[in-house]
Symmetry: C2
Subunit: 458 residues, 2 copies
Amino acid sequence: VAVFSPDTLARVEAIVGAAYVRTDSDALLAYGTDGTKRRAPADLVVLPGTVEEVAAIARLCNESRVPLVPRGAGTGYSGGAVPTRGGILLSLERLNRILEIDERDLVAVVEPCVTTGDLQEAVEHRGLFYPPDPASLAQSSIGGNIAENAGGPRGFKYGTTGRYVLGLEAVLPTGDIIHTGGRTVKNVVGYDLTSLTVGSEGTLAVVTKAILRLLPKPAHTALVRADFSDVSQAARAVDALLSARVVPSTLELVDGPSLAAVARHLGEPPPAAGAVLLIELDGQPDAVEEEAARVTDACRAVGAAAFQLARTAAERQALWRLRRELSPALREIAPVKLNNDIVVPRGRIPELFAFLARLAREHDVLVPSFGHAGDGNIHVNIMVEDTPDARARAKQAEQHLFEEVVRLGGVLSGEHGIGFVKAPYLRLQLSDDEIALMKRIKAAFDPNGILNPGKIFP
Amino acid sequence: VAVFSPDTLARVEAIVGAAYVRTDSDALLAYGTDGTKRRAPADLVVLPGTVEEVAAIARLCNESRVPLVPRGAGTGYSGGAVPTRGGILLSLERLNRILEIDERDLVAVVEPCVTTGDLQEAVEHRGLFYPPDPASLAQSSIGGNIAENAGGPRGFKYGTTGRYVLGLEAVLPTGDIIHTGGRTVKNVVGYDLTSLTVGSEGTLAVVTKAILRLLPKPAHTALVRADFSDVSQAARAVDALLSARVVPSTLELVDGPSLAAVARHLGEPPPAAGAVLLIELDGQPDAVEEEAARVTDACRAVGAAAFQLARTAAERQALWRLRRELSPALREIAPVKLNNDIVVPRGRIPELFAFLARLAREHDVLVPSFGHAGDGNIHVNIMVEDTPDARARAKQAEQHLFEEVVRLGGVLSGEHGIGFVKAPYLRLQLSDDEIALMKRIKAAFDPNGILNPGKIFP
């Protein structure tokens, strides 16, 4: 490919400096994977330091028809940052500064590789609040959160990343630098390029700066843990809480197999509960206490057996530990995990969990599941031994899961995106006309198809 | 034009039925205007009754290269529904049903010409809540609200229309029927066509159905009216309230000239106040009372002279009357009104009002202003006598306003859109590269440029 001629390599080095171009196989491998553990080597890893450098690299790739794959912290679960077709892996890790936190405009301006958790800490220090809280927030970058429209438990009350993105600076695959939106919370001037770029999985533009909306930090937070005899009872409680018109900040469900995995992982006895809800409430202290009482009543009415209420930060951390230990705990129960983040309409949660029990039986797979039940967004982990036969059963179960989710009026992904991992299933969700329209939009941004090729579309 | 041959007219009549095609000049004129009072006659008014009929009309227009202009309730303030290039005016008035209110999924499914106020009433009857509240809500349609991404006072806490649109059924200019999004609150499958369509001013697709997100209705609402000696004091209070980290549902400002106009209109003595804030709070009763006290303290600290507190619906209606009477009151002070809904970053509100005072003096125009101060979104009305000289001064003042707004980091429109009225100013806000990208997106939807031509782009 043209880019690897000594001449083109020299051009890349002239743009970013030789110190920021990596060609060694260690780097090519290390940057060639993400949270999926799927791996493909880039031909070149480039670490730009400014938006102008990003634009110059994009122009070079566009002229030479070389794939350009942007990468944040590499924590994605759909393979969005994996350079499946080689080319230049553009790591944005040097663009990692919080440029501004403006308490009057209630905005933060950040570069894409600011870590989500670092931003939260910085704004909370000033009494402000950046709600999106993906489980990976200690590692994941704002740019990656924007690329995938990342969610998290607080999405139930506060919405996902997109709601907080007011404006972007971004580089088009042609090398044009554009600014979308701005510092205002309202803006109807032209098409909403900000929302279109959010969730586009790095296929339309490379985000080099983001203007983020901040909220006042809630005065008080409390967490209720409610234990249920089985997951169908917990699912009915979710439905009851929605009907009771309470708006917790989180409404998380952990099913029985997941609870058992965490208990084993922590060396604890098998759990008494068959499912747990973690319900966080925030706001003014009196209102939080009143809502906690309504939550407890609603859960008790459908049969919740035990409650714990955490008010201090330390108490809440202790209860959230269950949720945090899920990922490492699941790793111990089977080596192969197909990690899906499907969504169903909120009222279909009980049906979904009834189906998941059948799915596990019919395909002889483990299906520990947990997640953002208030949003209908459940992480369904299809787990098996690492044998060809077991892997085949897991893929069949996954196909069956997606078909059922679509039948329930749901969608394949709520926060992880499609990447290349779920691209083969896109037609289950979208019509040919819809996919064709999306491809025309892609071409409007990227006429030569160089930016993150092979993602989203089957 | 081809469409008006007897053959083409016959084809239109065959699609929707002769009873739903209007060719009389009364209809052509009546459907040729909107809230701007600018007027251009359509060549044909068509009233489809189904999505299939909309698709067939779109195909016919696309084949014949005839402009197709969708229209909801015709209350827009940027001329978006005015058929400036003739063609077919597609009134969606027959698609006016609330199809579904689902209390478990917390969604409503509506046709585009459901009136915003009717939807609100229907869902509130069931303890649910559809927050977007444009001033025109008694007349304006959900489809029009979606086309313009309409806001309203409650946008401060709840965001604008786009936040509540989960999914759409829409007809492309080529006649394809697409479905975007769905019934789930999270969805990252492919590009976000829902958000792209919202605010696209009927230039990308004709919305024929919308799936809307509902919230629980707040348990309690209170309204504080605070009177200030002048608008700069009120603007400082907005800043103080944002800094005090309260989140009212509305934070509306009415300036002195606007107050005076309403007093005259109602036959009342001149107002003592030089500016007023209307601050609505909602939530659990105790929290609302506590926040009302904080609001009052913050306003008093910057010098507010008088307060009124309304708790019952009747009391609140009485205080909101000031806001509702603004439009008719302003009509009486001068015949020409250039109605602008500019936005500045929230912290720039005091600077904006200082500038508006200079603007009125320098250009010898009246500039009564009011609006959604918490969002930095102010309705700036430039008003003059109806003489050529005065109109020229008003246009100069408008140009000066837009330049200053952009200088302050703001935008030309927060809720009315660009339409054809503000299209000449688009380049103040967007770069050539950004406009070129938007035009490529337009072409991805509408290769022949038949849908609502002459809007948004200069």
